[in-house]
């Protein structure tokens, strides 16, 4: 109780709670959201690694061999492993959210959410198979 508090009739003295910097630990959905946002850092890192790989390829076999040797170092193996997990998390969560943004109506009815998400997964699978086919043939 505070004796300093003044109360003026018809002019409420509001109380406003400050949002803690730890708000994202308040519930599972918030933590999940922050994790999903953080995945973009790893998507970015893996994109940089890919660019580095391309640069090494362009610079000739020697540089490329050096690049591959670098990639076998535990730190890069770990980075790629963690990166892969985060990219999978990123992809799956965004595919699952896609139906929220895409409302497709066919014959006057809204196409069910699972169909929209499913088509994304099918496209992912087909592209992955195509990439795998190109890589394995080479």
């Amino acid at each position: 109780m505070s004796s300093e508090t003044q109360y003026t009739p018809y002019h409420p003295k509001w109380y406003r709670r400050r949002v803690s910097v730890w708000w994202w630990l308040q519930n599972r959905s918030y933590a999940y959201f922050v994790l999903r946002e953080l995945t973009s850092v790893f998507v970015g890192l893996c994109a940089l690694l890919l660019l580095w790989h391309l640069r090494a390829l362009v610079q000739g076999p020697e540089t490329h061999a050096h690049f591959l040797a670098q990639m076998r170092r535990p730190i890069f193996v770990a980075l790629n492993g963690v990166g892969l997990l985060f990219i999978l998390f990123h992809t799956i969560t965004w595919f699952n959210l896609a139906p929220k943004a895409m409302v497709v109506r066919l014959g006057g009815k809204r196409v069910p959410d699972w169909t929209i998400a499913g088509l994304n997964y099918v496209a992912w699978l087909l592209l992955s198979v195509a990439v795998a086919a190109v890589l394995l043939r080479g």
């Binding site: 300093e4 509001w14 949002v19 708000w23 918030y30 959201f33």
Partner: protein, 247 residues
């Protein structure tokens, strides 16, 4: 079976204290009681000074929204049996300024709601003699979900973006804008898109998705916001690639 349930209720009496405190009450447990029944019991039998809002007691008026165990809920739809053995923590809706006990100030939402023009706008009204604006079932179906909003503000209380950035226009206002945009009788979708594309509009949303989870009417405001973002992005591309096509 529990005979009593403990409620930890936030009290804030601005004439007495400078910040909220917690008061504990013990109420009889009844299977068919919701948190609002327990609050009414406290008000009637134990402490008449407890302040909170409620009206219909059946999930229609949207005035009894509070935080129950940290989640925004309509207290008329939050059964005590789901929170056994307790204690049940009852707090005012978070991110809103508290006036007294469990009563929050909702002026901010009311102003934001008005800003998106949630009513039917026609370029030219038909004369009355032409009769009603008719709609097919399909046309109704397009916006019906968003028209179920009861302005309970649980979605604002669930949205950390609104908590951190009070100027954000917020989930319910955007969902209601989309409700009128999708209405075949309305002709102001472009106007609303411009209002919502302002700095404090839909692009503030980072798609936490919690607004849709707490919505007691399954309005899915998060969906409405993402759909509008898609519309906004398509419109922007059109205006860049085909500037003459968007006039």
């Amino acid at each position: 079976m529990a005979e009593t349930v403990t409620l930890e209720v936030t009290r804030y009496r601005p004439e007495q204290e400078s910040e909220p405190t917690c008061q504990t009450y013990s109420v009889p447990y009844r299977k068919d009681w919701v948190v609002l029944d327990a609050l009414n019991y406290i008000k009637d039998q134990q402490d008449g000074s407890l302040s909170y809002r409620w009206s219909c007691r059946m999930g229609v008026c949207g005035s009894c929204g509070m935080m129950v165990n940290g989640t925004p809920k309509l207290t008329c739809a939050a059964f005590l049996s789901d929170y056994l053995p307790g204690p049940v923590r009852v707090e005012p809706l978070q991110f809103f300024p508290v006036i007294r006990d469990l009563v929050v100030d909702v002026t901010d939402f009311m102003q934001k709601l008005k800003k998106v023009k949630p009513w039917i706008i026609r370029k030219e009204e038909k004369p009355l003699t032409d009769g009603e604006y008719l709609q097919t079932h399909d046309q109704l179906d397009r916006y019906k979900q968003f028209s179920m909003c009861i302005n309970c503000m649980l979605c604002y209380s669930a949205c950390p973006i609104y908590g951190l950035e009070q100027s954000f226009i917020g989930p319910a206002a955007i969902a209601l804008a989309q409700r009128y945009n999708l209405d075949s009788r309305d002709e102001a979708a472009r106007e609303r898109l411009e209002i919502l594309s302002e700095h404090d509009g839909l692009w503030q949303c980072t798609f936490v998705g919690e607004c849709s989870k707490v919505c007691p009417k399954s309005v899915d405001p998060a969906g409405a916001i993402q759909q509008l973002k898609l519309t906004g992005a398509v419109h922007w591309f059109q205006s860049v690639l085909l500037p003459w096509g968007t006039r």
